[in-house]
Symmetry: C2
């Protein structure tokens, strides 16, 4: 995603420096020579590429930073970058999921804020959480794409002008919390919808469109309640960060495939591992685990309003039967008997 | 749909009488002898079948009525039934779309109310609009299914107990307007998403998942605004009647196919006709036409907030280019350039 977003930025005249972590050496090397290995096309002219040891060069004189590393690597990369800066810069966070620090689970922006305070004292923490239905390859091919920027400080708005093109459309909402929660949780709910697909494949006598729509709708309702419980704006879940992103994630992607394999009889742990070994990380697996811990830390948030989240958790980590959990969930949701 | 809903009702001990219009003779005949021709299974035991001339018998002693005829036939059937009743009965309306009466376009419940007032003077108009993601075949196969009942008079709630089973889950909302608008309009928006699929098939070099999610999200936002403009509850669009139903309708169905044919180069009128002749009616085609007239009657509702609806209208009735309309729409929605 970090590479894909260089297309609209470059077209807007932004001089982009693309830095790869210590895990990205091959990717950077390949992209220097020709096609970007994951996007299948060359990066835009004018994008400079930097290897892991060149972080200081990449940051030198920057106006703002985009961070698109995985949630596992986020804190380490953020800390390293912050340590190289004289003064704070606005950050656009494309990382999705949760991070662990000192035995606690934090959202990405919370993790960033903790490190920020340790490094910059009383400077302003200028943060944007980037969400919405954006598959990187399609963005790089200039397929019409909508993204949503969750922010708080209105001074950030002027930076937003660097992003929109005719195909990359930017929407914004003053709700960091809602955008980052939806961006992370949609991967979990996509696993649940994938499980439904897997059940259909294993046993279906008629399509499960009704069932999948039921779960999609349930997921959106649960995301809206979760956003609200955690202090975000409920409507964020009803827009690009929730409805839009869950739509694209459930239509295609690793989390849906992971769920499908479970639904058709696979063991969650084995399927996760076999996908991982093939280079396909179903991020929702870790997000589900971390988010349950995140919820556990906020004792004021009960778990009654989130039966689908709980059912997926029991299937993935509790060895519960996918069939019993999803059919059971359907039978409990709604009014009457 | 009228036939499919006899499954949960029968399982709840309701003695269902299923009446077919003058267009349904063959269907009723076939269902009497064996499998229901459209569902592919026999109807539940205990469901009595009635031919068109037997409407009075079918209604005799009924506690409530479900109407599931097409919107074109709705007023005629409703009027005939009302004429046979001594006193008013509660009605569950499964008909989706708009109706025409004396040169005006009305929502289904508005049309029913006009006829009701002419027939029953000052009796109570007890109406439920039934919506949500329900494909009839899947319901008849007992696939988990969620429906939403839009109602106003709380006395109707006791009747809702006749519907839920372990697989047919009922949700309710005090918003007839929102449920009936979403149920009708989702067919129009499904055409729009189908057009996107057709464009991809005709010219795509990468998948259009981002684009389709963009349109899905746009459709939900427009439905929410439309519901609000017409006096319904905005949140209805963010739940089963909107999000859930558009999900299932865009995943499968005649309106999506109709859109796809247009998007890949077909003429809207010809494609509509060729589908019609094959017995596949893309209901969204008429709904789109009627809804524009419906909007035109309410001059207080502007059309600025509904660019996707307008774009689909221009493609289907204005011979506008599907590509220019949808890519153009994307380029206009959002912030910045």
């Amino acid at each position: 995603m970090g590479s894909a977003i260089t297309y609209p930025l470059s077209e807007n005249g932004v001089r982009v420096r693309l830095w790869g972590t210590w895990l990205d050496d091959e990717l950077v090397e390949a992209a220097r020579k020709g096609n970007h290995p994951k996007l299948g096309t060359p990066l835009p002219r004018g994008v400079s590429l930097f290897f892991a040891p060149q972080l200081a060069e990449a940051l030198d004189g920057a106006d703002f930073i985009l961070v698109a590393v995985t949630s596992e690597g986020f804190l380490q990369v953020y800390e390293r970058a912050a340590g190289l800066l004289e003064h704070a810069l606005p950050v656009f966070g494309l990382t999705k999921g949760f991070v662990e620090r000192e035995g606690r689970v934090l959202s990405v922006s919370e993790g960033a804020l903790e490190l920020f305070r340790e490094r910059f004292d009383d400077e302003e923490f200028l943060w944007v959480s980037v969400g919405g239905p954006v598959k990187a390859v399609e963005l790089s091919r200039r397929i019409p794409t909508a993204t949503v920027f969750g922010y708080d400080d209105v001074r950030l708005r002027q930076l937003f002008d660097s992003f929109p093109t005719s195909y990359y459309r930017v929407f914004s909402v003053r709700d960091i919390r809602g955008v980052e929660l939806c961006s992370a949780l949609k991967n979990v709910y996509a696993i649940g919808m994938g499980i439904c697909d897997g059940l259909y494949e294993a046993e279906g006598t008629a399509y499960y469109h009704n069932f999948k729509a039921f779960l999609f709708n349930q997921a959106i309702g649960e995301m809206a309640r979760l956003v609200e419980e955690f202090g975000g704006v409920r409507d964020t879940a009803f827009d690009l960060a929730g409805v839009g992103d869950l739509f694209v994630t459930s239509a295609s992607g690793r989390n849906g495939i992971f769920g499908r394999r479970i639904g058709s009889g696979g063991s969650p742990e084995k399927e996760y591992r076999s996908m991982f070994e093939a280079g396909e990380v179903a991020e929702g697996y870790h997000t589900l685990d971390l988010f349950r811990k995140f919820m556990g830390q906020r004792t004021e948030v009960g778990d009654e309003g989130f039966p689908l989240l709980n059912a997926v958790h029991r299937v993935v980590f509790g060895e519960s039967s996918p069939r019993e959990e999803l059919f059971g969930l359907a039978a409990r949701c709604g009014e009457g008997r």
